[in-house]
């Protein structure tokens, strides 16, 4: 990412002489802090509204974050590698429009899935080629494709909407696997496990961290930086396609304004999850907890009849506070020691 923090600021990577034990590291970790916030939000919610602790209500609440979180997992990898994709919400719009078009052509559910994921992959490949092939800054490229992809949806649809999705297609966004456990939630859990394994347990995951920490060093270590980043753009596009399938199925209609503004919520979720916007650090468990926090806050406020825009103030404050507070604490500590 080319928009970096104050370069002469206090962001330095310190490498300790000896690593602390895993338990100690966990106690001082971002994930634990976030888990505390999640528990607090959950507890407050259950006090705030008697309707909160209902299995079906909680199940409904998960829809607030499952689709966004699926994209956030792939976005986390992309941001850790030092790039960003602001076009994800527009990929949803384009993939959804393509699926709607396919329905008009008489496609059945299995074809719709292929169209959704396929368009996502194509969009991801387009971003990837521009960023890795031409060496353009990803933030500008994806601001451009953000307008382009959604713009194509507007050209196709204008002020109209596609409806008439087959009834079997409704399962992806409205179906339940077992009792109150929705299909989307199961998909969310499966993708969380998949991305956690990819990032934390495979050599590919190590490459992602290596590239994010030092792209030039990674290049000189023989890592195919461009290829890894291209794969990450493909992954993010594909996950946006999957989210488009779920969202379209849940809403049962496609308008060009579908998922408007989601890119910011996805990025917020990733950053809240402890992923460094400068790249090189972050974890999937953090993003999972952040997804729960954001979903529960939104849902709790909803139960209290707080309008959505007030929730967004809270999300904005949360985003700045979670990054600012540790820095303020560090500055205060440094002053005391100094």
């Amino acid at each position: 990412m080319s928009v970096t923090a104050n370069e002469t600021g206090s962001i330095e990577r310190q490498i300790p002489d000896r690593l602390k034990s895993p338990a100690q590291r966990f106690l001082a970790s971002w994930e634990l802090l976030l888990l505390g916030v999640a528990v607090a939000v959950f507890t407050l919610n259950s006090f705030a509204s008697p309707y909160f602790l209902d299995a079906w209500n909680l199940s409904d609440a998960t829809y607030n974050f499952t689709e966004k979180a699926m994209i956030a997992f792939a976005m986390a990898l992309l941001i850790i590698s030092g790039e960003i994709d602001l076009s994800v919400a527009s990929i949803i719009a384009l993939a959804s429009t393509a699926m709607g078009f396919a329905v008009q052509m008489g496609a059945d559910t299995s074809v719709l899935i292929l169209v959704g994921v396929g368009v996502g992959l194509l969009c991801g490949a387009f971003n990837g080629v521009l960023v890795t092939g031409l060496g353009l800054p990803s933030i500008v490229v994806t601001i451009g494709t953000m307008s382009l992809f959604r713009g194509i949806s507007y050209i196709v649809l204008g002020d109209k909407a596609y409806t008439g999705y087959p009834s079997s297609f409704a399962f992806f966004g409205q179906g339940y696997v077992w009792w109150a456990v929705s299909f989307e939630f199961v998909l969310f859990v499966l993708f969380a496990i998949f991305f956690a394994i990819v990032l934390h347990r495979t050599s590919f995951g190590r490459l992602v961290y290596a590239i994010g920490n030092n792209p030039v060093g990674a290049l000189f270590s023989g890592i195919q930086v461009a290829r890894v980043k291209f794969v990450l753009f493909l992954l993010t596009g594909a996950m946006s396609g999957v989210a488009a399938i779920c969202l379209t199925s849940r809403l049962g209609a496609t308008r060009p304004s579908i998922a408007f503004g989601w890119e910011l919520e996805v990025v917020t979720m990733v950053v809240l999850g402890g992923v460094s916007i400068l790249g090189g650090a972050g974890s999937i468990p953090g993003v999972v907890i952040a997804a729960f926090v954001m979903g529960m806050v939104t849902f709790g406020f909803g139960l209290l009849n707080v309008p959505g825009i007030v929730m967004s103030i809270f999300i904005g404050l949360l985003l700045i506070a979670v990054i600012a507070l540790p820095r303020i604490a560090r500055q205060v500590l440094a002053r005391r020691r100094g």
Binding site: E7, L130, Y154, I277
Partner: protein, 327 residues
């Protein structure tokens, strides 16, 4: 990057704009009637003002995604002030708008300077916060034309020498920026900070402070535009200028301002904004559905950034680039 390098880029952009206008005019001569061109310029004025503020922010390696929310919040505040106190003279309202806008810019700047939070995160956050505050203070209500005083609404439409005051303000801001960027120490500091922050420190420039100053300028202009916007359209509500921040960034990118910092010019920002403004105003004239506009500006951004990158690929890093592409 030499002066001549980015001067020629502006010449190419200006050529593209003239070509565009020429093509439209060949089919629809009414488009280049002076009165229509003046209309187009007036319509693009808010974008020009904001693009210039965004330019100095981007040149210092930051980004300000909160400009549209700042504009909307300031617009709502002055509109509410006007309904509460219809006798408040316009200069006072202007001062309040600029002051409030600067304050919001200052908040962005301090977060970036004092806490070293990445600019994109700061302004992503303040964007939603400022937008949310509009809802809090207005309760989601609209303020309509009949609630605003006549003097409040008339100010941006006042015509001097055939041009509305809104256009004159945009011209004034452009001239002020020519002086600021080309003739003041602060203007040089913006480029020094963006070009090489480490070197800037050694020349005695406070990097964070300079970035903060850029945010205050961007915020002040957003505040100013907030009043002009609300007065011109005679309506204030939560979602005014929604998504406008991306159009502003797009104008800068098309104008050849490098998102990596250190490169950019007043002329570039002006031409980038004019390009988008002309496209927007030409679509209905040449009978293309306005739904095309988003895709066209998206394509323009991608083409502009690809063009800028290929024409300015730095020679110092050729070895690295080759290594990167060798598979």
């Amino acid at each position: 990057m030499t002066w001549s390098g980015w001067k020629s880029r502006e010449v190419i952009l200006a050529g593209a704009i003239i070509l565009l206008v020429g093509m439209i005019a060949s089919r629809f001569p009414a488009f280049i009637a002076p009165s229509n061109l003046a209309n187009v310029f007036n319509d693009t004025s808010p974008l020009i003002i904001l693009a210039l503020g965004q330019m100095v922010v981007i040149v210092t390696r930051c980004i300000d995604l909160s400009v549209a929310a700042n504009l909307a919040l300031t617009g709502m505040v002055v509109a509410m002030l006007n309904t509460a106190m219809p006798d408040l003279p316009v200069p006072v309202i202007l001062a309040i708008a600029i002051g409030l806008g600067s304050l919001m810019g200052l908040i962005n700047g301090l977060l970036v300077w004092k806490l070293s939070i990445p600019p994109i995160v700061v302004t992503l956050g303040t964007m939603t916060i400022y937008r949310g505050i509009i809802f809090l203070i207005s309760g989601g209500e609209w303020i309509n034309a009949h609630e605003m005083s006549d003097a409040f609404k008339a100010f941006p439409r006042e015509t001097i020498l055939g041009l509305p005051l809104l256009s004159w303000i945009a011209i004034l801001v452009v001239l002020a920026f020519v002086v600021l960027v080309g003739r003041t120490a602060l203007g040089r500091a913006f480029f020094a900070v963006g070009g090489n922050p480490h070197a800037a420190v050694y020349t005695g420039i406070n990097v964070g402070q300079t970035q903060c100053a850029a945010y205050v300028i961007s915020g002040a202009l957003a505040g100013l535009t907030g009043y002009l916007w609300v007065a011109r359209y005679a309506v204030a509500y939560v979602d005014i200028a929604g998504g406008f921040e991306l159009e502003v960034v797009a104008a800068c990118v098309i104008g050849g301002i490098s998102i990596a910092g250190g490169i950019g010019s007043v002329g570039g920002a002006l031409l980038g904004a004019l390009f988008l403004g002309i496209v927007k105003n030409a679509l209905p004239v040449i009978n293309i559905s306005p739904f095309w506009q988003l895709a066209i500006s998206g394509s323009a951004i991608i083409i502009a950034v690809a063009f800028n990158a290929t024409s300015s690929r730095s020679k110092g890093r050729v070895i690295l680039k080759k290594a990167e592409h060798a598979t």
